[in-house]
Assembly symmetry: C2
């Protein structure tokens, strides 16, 4: 390939045909989820009311690779392989000797990496005769991805969207409806839990944890309905590894290996998707990148949370997950990166972090928006607020290279575009973006609610 | 290539390096623009206050091919070559023996085909020392494309956006500001013409013709400022031929030639960009596609307009252009496809149509939205309201194939995504999209204002 490339494209024929499971390659496996009643490891049968067996077996598999069904690949091919970009204009603007690459997932119909797992989740449910999926969504990236995926297999999709987002960003709801989904603001009047919260506060703003509780309750109550989760769980990260597998091949095409890999972390699926195939290479000694998680300072799960068993939802209905958590009742300040406002972290990403295989840093949103604006003006793409965190950390690294004179190769994940987040940029341009100082006291209080298992 | 492809991708190295000018290949050249005072053909000097000489020479060139500067290709490579898609899921839903292909331009940073010409326009202006470009925009696709392009070359961008759109779709304005542009609602209080209209009606909704007049007046008054137009002119269509040149190569990769080619027409740049390279092949006898223009029934320039010399703007300041026109004072009903609400048509597309080389059809917007929704649910991509017209005509053709049993190959242009047009889909889903019956009387009255040259 010529040396002046901007975009590294893989032909459709080279789309990966297997997902990668890092667990067998780790020095020790992550702690299992626990049944909240018995505190015994939760087995496949415990998960069966919520997920189809095809996905449950992926959740617990010991295989290093899982074949991607042809019918799933046929949908992914609507936008995959996604491009790997060399950010030459950003490099120039930063006057850095570093080489910056970004893997761009905004080319998917829903505009983020989320359809990579929404499609196989819809596929496996459909294959087992499920006729409807329920889910929660915050800003709406996950809900719209699942709505798109369900439309592909002709199954219904019912979404509980955090009420504050439902009101502030109405177009994500419309996008879900374009794909045929039904959308409720959460708390809603269609579940007992929602009704109880609305009785206390008719204008309840909702939270991701509450929306999860509502979506789960509807799935658990109906035999032909299951629940779908857009992050956190092993099978979700498994599906997202297609990002990193493609990026590995694309970097090889231009003769590069990353010195630093940077991804933003909310529930961990975007970060894991990019990083886990590179972690395999690192564990095998074939490359040695620093792998860095970036989280919002207002929701600092990895940098300030505790590593303990906690619930995934507010109503305490999920299995207990060993993860970095700020407490299942933690309500993050209303930062614009809605996809990073989750109290917990993927147990797999948490475990890898505890093993010392990754670094983590928390960044204020004002620094992130500044980096996002610079990115838009140089690389053209308007990033979603979530990946501006990864961009901000990338800019920090590139400027450090300028100081040190090192020509590092940096790889980051641009997990989605910001076409439906322009209200956030409007606020930033108007100077009305605030940063939030999370006090030690508030954090300690929230963490007190986390169960202590002995 | 395997026979089950969905997406036909060209490697970055095969991006076209020349634009195609169809004029030398036509049986006769299109009539020249006329100076509105002398009614003599307008020469390069007449255009110099508005455009840089690099673009003027492209406007009047007799060469069949024009080299694309390397610095322009380097920006286009941020998203080009764009994908050619086989719409297998749509074919299946329609149960048609036709093969449907669409060339997707929504992968550009601004989300449409417009940056294909915005980038070279900014480049040639910058190369001649111009420090600011002015333009008009309706729904905002063109204004955001030019804002992006100006950011790439470090020149200022000032946009007059039709006031009704400015108020209804605030996020396009924010997108332009993200790329550093200044945006005014039109009519504005920064031009004499704008102030005169606001004095009559402080809530004036504006129109494209008015916004053009304002942008032109600001450019003409300042020596370092020029004006940029997003459609209509020869050099704009020239730049857009990169679409058709790529599509030709991509179809050849899968061994297909189109029987029918379909594009929506507003000012003609998207249609011309796709169609002109195929027209070359048709004129040379190498293929024989039917080439079909699709326009909104509410703004039926080709199907119900007159082919006469008319002004391009409302204030009658442009050269006279021989084109299909509904009259320069025509204000189309407020259909959602803002990019198709222009009273005139590219003189080149008009001329080709008069030569009998193309067909034209007008379709109501309700049929277009129905087709757009079906497209989104099958192919995943949410189309902008403009290309839903092309999709509706494609669906008609595919259903005709089902009737006749013919397996035609249909190629259409999906010129942009609808991420910033979701309010229109919301209205459609809510059942509040109206069609507009343009009466013969209203049309005749508007056409009366078109000058009659003898």
């Amino acid at each position: 390939m010529a040396d002046d490339y901007y975009r590294v494209t893989l032909p459709e024929s080279e789309i990966p045909t297997q997902w990668y499971n890092v667990i067998p390659d780790l020095p020790e496996p992550p702690p299992p989820p626990l049944h909240p009643g018995t505190l015994e490891p939760a087995g496949p049968d415990d998960l069966a009311p919520l997920f189809p067996m095809g996905l449950i077996m992926q959740e617990v598999t010991g295989d290093s690779y899982v074949d991607i069904p042809g019918a799933v690949i046929d949908v992914l091919r609507l936008w995959r392989p996604s491009p790997l970009m060399r950010a030459r204009r950003l490099e120039q603007a930063l006057d850095t000797p570093a080489k910056i690459f970004y893997k761009y997932e905004g080319v998917s119909p829903a505009g983020s990496h989320k359809p990579n797992t929404a499609v196989p989740q819809a596929y496996y449910n459909h294959a087992e005769g499920i006729t409807k999926l329920t889910t929660e969504t915050g800003a709406g990236q996950w809900g719209s991805a699942l709505a798109f995926a369900c439309a592909q297999y002709g199954i219904e999709c019912e979404v509980w969207q955090v009420a504050a987002s439902y009101r502030q960003k109405p177009y994500r709801k419309t996008m879900m409806e374009v794909w045929g989904a039904t959308v409720h603001p959460s708390p809603s009047n269609v579940t007992d839990y929602g009704r109880s919260l609305l009785a206390e506060d008719p204008d309840h703003p909702g939270s991701l944890g509450i929306a999860i509780s509502e979506a789960i309750s509807m799935a658990a109550a109906n035999p032909n309905v299951r629940y779908a989760l857009g992050s956190v769980l092993n099978h979700v990260l498994l599906h997202q590894t297609i990002i990193g597998e493609e990026a590995l091949r694309q970097l090889a095409m231009v003769g590069e290996t990353p010195d630093v890999l940077v991804g933003c972390t909310g529930g961990g699926s975007n970060f894991g998707g990019l990083a886990l195939p590179f972690l395999r290479e690192k564990l095998a000694g074939r490359m040695s990148p620093v792998i860095r998680c970036v989280e919002p300072a207002a929701c600092p799960t990895l940098t300030r949370g505790v590593y303990r068993y906690d619930f995934g939802d507010t109503a305490r209905t999920t299995p207990l997950l060993k993860m970095h958590t700020l407490g299942h009742g933690f309500i993050p300040e209303p930062i614009h990166a809605g996809g990073l406002r989750y109290h917990g972290m993927s147990p797999l990403v948490s475990h890898i972090h505890e093993l010392g295989l990754t670094e983590a840093v928390a960044i204020d949103q004002s620094e992130c928006f500044a980096a996002g604006l610079q990115f838009a003006r140089t690389e053209g793409i308007v990033p979603a607020p979530e990946p501006t965190h990864a961009i901000a950390a990338t800019v920090r690294e590139a400027l450090a290279c300028k100081q040190s004179g090192q020509s590092k190769t940096i790889l980051t994940a641009l997990c989605g575009h910001g076409h439906l987040d322009l209200a956030s940029y409007e606020a930033y341009i108007a100077g009305s973006i605030a940063d939030f100082d999370l006090s030690d006291e508030a954090l300690a209080k929230s963490i007190q609610a986390v169960p202590v298992l002995t």
